[in-house]
Amino acid sequence: MATSTGRVSGTTRDRAAGATDSARGRGRGRQAGPVRRSLSQYWYAWAMVAPVVVVTAALIGWPLVRGVYLSLTDATEATMGRTIGVNVIPSTYEFVGLDNYVGVLTSGLFWEKLTWTVVWTVACVALHYGVGLGLALMLNRRLRFRSVYRLLLILPWAVPPFVAAFIWRYLYNSDYGVINAMLRAAGLGGVGWLDDPTTAKIAVIAVNVWIGIPFMMMAMLGGLQSIPKELYEAAEVDGATPWQRFRFVTVPGLRTVSSTVLLLGTIWTFNMFPLIFLITGGGPGSSTEILVTYAYREAFTGVRNYAGSAAWGVIILLLLVVMALVYRRALRKQGEVW
């Protein structure tokens, strides 16, 4: 097994386990020989990833490169040169260095929105995970009507998010919504759910939790079922309490599933544009605006600010990349391989 940092030899090329990534050796293959050899070696692998890489590079890579470039200029819809029919607009945008980034990062609003975005993401992901795990634990038990429960609980997944956003807005309606009607019937009086910053924040988190739990629950259920039963039996023989079984068998058994779904859940929630945009439109005031919706509004109202929107996009992307790096490092420390 090639464990050195050198090139992986031919015989071990397709045995992944333990092979440190040979990408590090990439720079050394200067002579013709290794190039040809690596072509013949990695031909299959490259062919298999090629379609995805090409499509992604074109559709994501190109806008990304262009976005980075634009974010260093002062391009707007008005200064970007173009000819449309008889109208000729000269290109007048200029390179401005990091001005856009400085502008965003020094605005008080950015930090305000970032704080709320972090709160939103943490709250949503924690609830997704906690409730999802709780339900999965229940569904993993011997239980009457288990498949009925399971079906009912995953149904929200079948509702497209934007439809869900509309339904919930309808349910939350402060005058004629069902939720307030029930509260009033119970003698509690209605709540202006989307009319007050605090309740509006709770309301959007609740909707996102509603939408996201089925995925988390199914992933956790899968994770639970993959834990060998023998482990539980052994623990029981050793006289472990239910809590100890959970703590020392279930939790470690779920670690790998959890690490993936938590990372993906965080990324998805961080960029959850449609929900907030459709339910509150960022209001009241701009209290429920997360970074993406705020950036969208900043850059796309009126004459579009291409440079500004690109800077926002790059900042959001960087925040997530940094998050992923830190997360990966933390996992590494716990002995996870990536």
Partner: protein, 294 residues
């Protein structure tokens, strides 16, 4: 590692031995919690269905009623008075293509990054992750320009390609995890039988990965079925819209035809729920193992 064959019945028997009987109290608690959770999960959907049966006056009314002159009028209006049928056709084609191509690409990619350590491996892994971090709302304009330059605007293939970039990264990741859980000896056996690496993948490994394929298919399908942002911007013709994009027509700034919206939403959710019914058992097994390695 659980596989598709480990049905609940089997699991139940195993566990009976392990754990003692539940007390009546905890049974009630357990069922109570699950019932409450199910009600919460179901309530908005039930309300959606009820609203879709109401006439115009009942959508938003000062008096709330469960049933208010229920009829299927809204469904009739959706099916005959709008472009719903052609939207449905577009959605089925687009979601179908996205699913088939997406599953294929995700599994080849997943297999490659699971089995081979090739130059660029790490780059591919990061690419799959970073792609999901892309704030779509903000960078939709350059994408539009790209589509326009490629002549893919208002074309079904254009939208399918766009959905690939959303669905494939997640799916490839899931598939990679699942392939990791399939012993390498199986590949080697295939190789010894004289199969090419691709042949091994196609004939030997892929059939074993069925649960994960189900998840991937499901995820791709749902992505294409419910997506709005790309669909409403890239498909400029009225007859080229997908269901999700078409639905937005029913809710304007100063008016909302809740009857049409809810009826159409129910019609959209039903096929998705049916797909669910078929794959939900695989879903559990697939997601699990799929996620075993980050």
């Amino acid at each position: 590692m659980s596989t598709a064959t480990a049905g609940p019945a089997k699991g139940r028997r195993v566990r009976v031995r392990g754990r003692g009987e539940r007390s009546v109290g905890s049974s009630i608690l357990l069922h109570g919690t699950l019932v409450v959770a199910s009600v919460i999960s179901l309530f908005p959907i039930v309300w959606l269905v009820l609203t879709s049966l109401k006439p115009r006056d009942g959508w938003l009314s000062t008096e709330l009623k469960l049933f208010d002159g229920s009829s299927l009028d809204n469904y009739a209006r959706v099916l005959t008075g709008t472009q719903f049928p052609s939207w449905l056709f577009n959605s089925v084609v687009i979601a179908g293509l996205t699913t088939v191509i997406g599953v294929f690409l995700a599994s080849t990619t997943g297999y490659a990054i699971s089995r081979f350590r090739f130059p660029g491996y790490r780059g591919v892994m990061w690419m799959l992750l970073v792609t999901q971090m892309f704030p779509v709302a903000i960078l939709i304009v350059p994408l539009y320009n790209l589509m326009a330059g490629l002549g893919l605007l208002n074309q079904i293939p254009g939208l399918v390609i766009a959905y690939m970039t959303v669905a494939v990264p997640f799916c490839a990741w899931m598939m990679k995890g699942y392939f990791d859980s399939i012993p390498r000896e199986i590949d080697q056996a295939g190789m010894i039988d004289g199969l090419t690496p691709f042949g091994t993948f196609w004939r030997v490994v892929l059939p074993l990965a069925r649960p994960s394929l189900a998840v991937t298919a499901f995820y791709s399908f749902m992505t294409a079925w419910g997506e709005v942002a790309y669909a409403s911007v890239f498909m400029t013709g009225d007859d080229k819209r997908t269901l999700a994009a078409g639905l937005q027509q029913f809710v304007g700034q100063y008016w909302a035809d809740w009857g049409l919206l809810t009826a159409a939403a129910v019609l959209i959710a039903v096929p998705a729920a049916v797909v669910f019914l078929f794959v939900q058992r695989h879903l559990v097994a697939g997601l699990t193992s799929g996620a075993t390695k980050l």
